[in-house]
Amino acid sequence: MALLQIAEPGLSAAPHQHRLAVGIDLGTTNSLVATVQSAMSVVLNDEDGRALLPSVVRYLPDGTTYVGYPAQAMQSADPHNTIVSVKRFMGRGVKDIPDAERMPYQFVDAPGMVQLKTVAGVKSPVEVSAEILRVLRERAEHALGGELVGAVITVPAYFDDAQRQATKDAARLAGLNVLRLLNEPTAAAVAYGLDNAAEGVYAVFDLGGGTFDISILKLSKGVFEVLATNGDSALGGDDFDQRVFCWILEQAKLPPLGPHDSRTLLTKAREAKEWLTEHPEANITALLDCGMAVDLTLTSTTFAEITQHLVSKTLQPTRKALRDAGLGPEEVKGVVMVGGSTRMPNIQKAVGDYFGQEPLNNLDPDKVVALGAAIQANVLAGNRGEDDWLLLDVIPLSLGIETMGGLVEKIIPRNSTIPVARAQEFTTYKDGQTAMSMHVVQGERELVAECRSLAKFELRGIPPMVAGAARVRVTFQVDADGLLSVTAREKSTGVETTVAVKPSYGLSDEEITRMLTESREHAKDDMAARMLRENQVEARRLLDAVQAALDEDGSLLDDRERAAIGQLMDALRAVTETGDSPTIKQALEALNRGTESFAARRMDRSVQKALSGHKLSELEVGEG
């Protein structure tokens, strides 16, 4: 039994038409995936209940790839093949990486983007990132119980086109449909619901494990604009750990330590820092390999003193960013805290003092970006009510696809805000059908002939199956620029064809108005025409199927039975082309009833066929 979630009023998805969408925070140190379930944005955990996935990928000679904690555990043992912080290499050349010599990787300078030599071959940062995204995609599909319509992936506000494109490529490689890339600070602001808040300027203060970013956003008419960004790509929580570590060395008067002792003390330093988030003092005790013991007490006052210079290092870029935006701290309406390191009380205080207000910090700072991305993904996948939409561009006329009988199946309804993506599954009409022709149309009418043709293409290479068994997923995606791409994908083989068109090309306002008026005037006729066509398609399909059955198993019938079926078929054939919906429907049902016992006999025969030549012991009874 499937498990259901609560939908917004009137927005229940049809069965098998889930609009599952996720938000992904593809971070330098850690990555997360979140989704909106029953109106609540939640981070999805792995099997062990952990939300964070370390952004670490390790390659083995036999091609095995480890992602996350198992890869991180081997970081010091196998540094060349364990890629950490790959985000720093996305869309970058070797020249763009300042400290390349100090890294344990063998870089290969390739046109456009640097590549990394590993035991499993040369890997591009896109491929490495795709491994991380794939794990998150699988986690989400597992947790949500279905294929994702798409994902919103966050990127730093300062990412340029090459870095953004590289992120999109990685997602595609991981089998994810990118609904859009979202700036990390914007995602954090969305998580706090600031997109529904008063217009104005907001600051997003993001102090992670190894990087610091400050962004100044301006919210107007529900859309965020990045006014300025600044930061320090080598400042983060790790520096605070390092500072505490040095303090321990000074206080305990320790000689230079071996690597194992250093690691032990560094871990103790981090634990002490985290403890001080909620306690006035932390005890640091350790017994070292060198025989010395450490037993110290670090008070939060001392901690604040020894890390004071690090805290002020975050305020310099903050001042610069505000200056670039031409604003003073008092003009900022709200400050959002992002990144685990913003839990430190002295950071909270410094930021609060600087902006003269309490920062927003009631959401988990490690998760806030992913949570915001999930909210955006949920909107883009079409799971929220009309009035909740951000005010963005809308699609003037519905976009759809031609189905049997010259009918239009609307995939994206008019007035959907863009960017948007919708998917629907179609199947084959005839036994052994290996190709499907796709006709993309635009308009509100029920018949293809009365809509505007946008593109035609064919999906080939569908494996021969009985009619109705193939599953072809057709995805319509309209990006923020109004560009429509249609992808048809056969699920068992993965064969895929895509076409891109600009639906608004050559369409004037008058034309749109005319098409809308006509659709209203003809609403009744159109529905009747649709019913008729649907019945005709069904009649032809049934006639084909019965004929095929007669050709194959006609010997199961005596002459009288055969003649009776023949008559019913003739009757249906006669009314199909000329008759009205009810007569066709009647003849259809008559033929259906008239062939019931024939169908039953065919079933018996095929069961016998399948069983003959097998011993009883070979047959296992399955549980449906």
């Binding site: 498990l3 609560i6 029953s38 949500l144």
Partner: protein, 107 residues
């Protein structure tokens, strides 16, 4: 007969409605489509319709329209976890057969 929520389901629904910030209750419904005829729907409710019936179960207002009620009378709604997946589960005495995935059913 009526429609009831288990303690667990009721607790979840209360939490979700509180999180959403508005809503009269939880609407259970049935609609045509799906691979086996009918499908369940589960929605938040902002306004009542003319033919709606309401129940109180475990502190949650359950809302169902007349047509759906005929097919849902006696249903128990539970909240369950299956592996990583969590969600609501219908136990409907009226359902005669369900499709393999359990998303649709016949009466």
């Amino acid at each position: 007969m009526a429609i009831t929520l288990t303690d667990k389901a009721a607790e979840r629904v209360r939490k979700f409605i509180a999180q959403r910030g508005k809503g009269l209750g939880l609407r259970l419904g049935v609609r045509t489509s799906g691979c086996s005829g009918l499908a369940y729907t589960l929605e938040f409710v902002d306004e009542l319709g003319d033919d709606d019936t309401t129940f109180d179960s475990n502190g949650v207002t359950v809302i169902v329209d007349a047509k759906s009620y005929a097919m849902l009378d006696g249903t128990v709604l539970d909240y369950a976890r299956e592996g990583l997946n969590e969600g609501f589960k219908f136990t409907n005495p009226n359902a005669k057969e369900t499709c393999g995935c359990g998303e649709s059913f016949k009466v």
